[in-house]
Symmetry: C2
Subunit: 225 residues, 2 copies
DNA sequence: TGAACTGTGTGAACAGTGTTCACCAGAATA
DNA sequence: TATTCTGGTGAACACTGTTCACACAGTTCA
């Protein structure tokens, strides 16, 4: 009675072929220029057939964004020489910035683009993103424990501070808004150092409760608001 | 012999009508959802007619981006209570962030979007952007002169540091990537204070020569590279 | 083995997109 | 008045995402 299983396998194979073709086109041409027809042509299916596997084009890109988070979390290429908490913190966000350079299409899809509503709407569903964040928040906590960062800081807010800074650099670079003389890599380094120096200066932050946890585990004052 | 003038006026009036219609649709529907046909319908012209006024849809949005810079530079709504250089610095970037909230469509078009190539390609042509930047750089210089910021800092690099931080916050907010508990306004304040504290801590920056000036006026080492 | 059923790919169609172009009316010019 | 020119029209082209009736293949059951 292996028929059901084989059918399942066949289905999964076509699904994968769609995603592979979509990824190739997406990485080389950018997501705006990928059409259902181009994907279908590449896997030698008719355009309508894809709708038996994905309810819409958006959902194909939602699946690709998931792939992007897997790629970002991939430990290959991680800096293993970083041993102190502070070095590991730098390495983590350095890697994040480098991801935006190596995989600009994925980066845009995951952190910038507004044209695939599913990604924004179901952002909290990305398990890989949550896992990655938890890892980095742990490193930040280690920096606090080791005294490299003030104990008054909320690790989740520190995470956001670094994230938005580097997203800003990446967006400015990817959208080609830098002046001819400016260097994005140097700017990324500066933003990293600047944020770090700011955090260590003991400035008090306004942001609260950006801890990534189910609502039930949140502090009462947050649930109330 | 007022015929030529009247023809010129007529042409300009239609051009303006196109831009007005485009702006209305653009602000209410977002730029991805504005089509040449919708603009044409609104001004009761045929779609083809628009191509007598703008060579392509991109050019209409290039003109709108120009309008966006005018809007950003508009002194109405400026904080006049800010008197010290540092307060004026805060006010300037606060206003920049608020612009991203008040005019998200314009903000995206001007600082984020990659789908209107003309804006990226001809970014240095935006006179309004250059003028606005020069004003803020002057305020930064005043902060350095008054001792509020270290004398070792390059004002243009300081400008970029604040810009990218707030662009990061704005992008994260506009693309709906914030966690439920997070507050973008607080985050913007934190990024501002954090960057400021970092700059005042005397950290040395890597970035160089992001001065906005014609090539001829640039330092020799920049021209050489 | 033959009939019925089911899943799935096809291909046409719909409604939309940006852009081009032959045509033609009306205004400007001679 | 006759000619020239400018500029809008509307059809067409080549795309886009999506839907759907149809047909065919593989599976199940008698």
């Amino acid at each position: 009675m292996g028929i059901k299983e084989r059918q399942e396998r066949d289905r999964e194979a076509v699904r994968r072929a769609i995603l592979d073709a979509a990824r190739d086109l997406f990485v080389s041409e950018g997501f705006q220029n990928v059409s259902i027809r181009k994907i279908a042509e590449r896997i030698e299916y008719s355009p309508g057939a894809l709708y038996g596997y994905f309810p819409s084009k958006d959902d194909i890109f939602f699946a690709l964004a998931e792939e992007g988070f897997r790629l970002l979390g991939d430990p290959s290429g991680h800096d293993e020489t970083a041993t102190t908490p502070l070095d590991r913190l730098r390495a983590s966000f350095g890697q994040f910035y480098q991801f935006s350079c190596k995989h600009p299409q994925y980066f845009t899809l995951m952190f910038v683009d507004q044209s695939v509503p599913r990604i924004s709407r179901e952002y909290e569903r990305f398990a890989f993103a949550r896992e990655k964040k938890r890892q980095v928040v742990q490193i930040i906590q280690a920096c606090i424990d080791s005294g490299d960062l003030p104990a008054t800081l909320n690790p989740a807010v520190v995470f956001r501070a670094f994230s938005v800074g580097l997203i800003g650099v990446a967006v400015t670079r990817l959208s080609d808004r830098l002046q001819p003389g400016e260097n994005a890599d140097d700017l990324a380094t500066d933003v990293l150092n600047l944020t770090l120096a700011g955090l260590r200066s003991g400035v008090t932050l306004k942001s609260t409760s950006s801890v990534d946890c189910p609502l039930a585990d949140r502090p009462a004052d947050v649930k109330a608001s």
